[in-house]
Amino acid sequence: MSRATPALDISLLEPKRLQICGALGVIDEMEFGTLRDLLGVADSVLSKHLKTLEEAGYVSSSKQKARETGRPRTWVKLTRSGRIALLGHVAQLRQLAQDVGATTP
């Protein structure tokens, strides 16, 4: 029996972007600095990933002023379409990964 070719989302093929959506998939919101530390990347790298995901409509961000410092902090959340894309992408990855078991002796 032939298996249909999985349709992966190209925005989520980049591991860091998949990790961003994966983290936001369980919680509601995450602050930019926390997300940066979690991924272990520079601000500029995270900004570029978030820009790509925002353009895809997968995440949204908002700025909230921190009372202590008065500086705005950026909070990121997964959108509904981002959640759908994540679930579909992970399901396809699982399907692909099953081939490891099928081909490994």
């Binding site: 349709a7 093929l13 980049e14 990790q19 369980v26 995450m30 790509t52 990964a97 081939d99």
Partner: protein, 164 residues
């Protein structure tokens, strides 16, 4: 755009590249690892639930007062807003537990107990019950908050660790 993955990176749309089975497994492993690290961040400060329980006590017992109920309600709302803000600033994350099935169940239990407590206090305000019923309802509400809160945290962390 930078690409440190070895995989293609461009605008969203249908996939044009297909990772191998090993790459797919590696992506799933990285996803699980990231969520596991996130679980370590989702540690609620020790004072969070006691303060929340205190606010619940003030709110429920205050509802029984015909003269001061609005003051205790205001104190509850202001305290809640401060608590949420403090949690977000300290942890850098916000999760309400509603996305997780067991979290939803715990939240419903807490809501039901608080609703029962408020209704009891309203009955006290109307003179249908003695004043000490409001204290009992407030204590039950506060204890339930103390019981549910850490379990909600544990549920969230377990969901983060197990999700892929």
């Amino acid at each position: 755009m930078e690409n440190n993955s070895g995989m293609p990176s461009s605008s969203p749309g249908p996939a044009r590249a297909q990772p191998s089975a090993a790459e797919a497994q590696a992506a799933l492993d990285a996803l699980a690892q990231g969520r596991g690290a996130l679980a370590e961040l989702a540690i609620t400060p020790w004072w969070y639930h006691p303060v929340l329980a205190g606010l619940v006590f003030v709110f429920v017992v205050g509802t029984a007062s015909a003269q001061f109920w609005y003051l205790t309600f205001l104190a509850y709302m202001v305290g809640l807003a401060w608590l949420v803000r403090a949690y977000r600033n300290l942890t850098g994350i916000w999760a309400n537990g509603w996305k997780i099935a067991q979290g939803r169940m715990l939240s419903v239990v807490l809501f039901a107990v608080l609703l029962a407590g408020v209704l009891t206090s309203l009955a006290v305000r109307r003179g249908q019950l003695d004043w000490w019923w409001a204290v009992v309802a407030a204590v039950v509400g506060a204890l339930t908050t103390l019981w549910v809160g850490p379990r909600l945290d544990a549920t969230l962390r377990a969901a983060l660790r197990s999700a892929t």
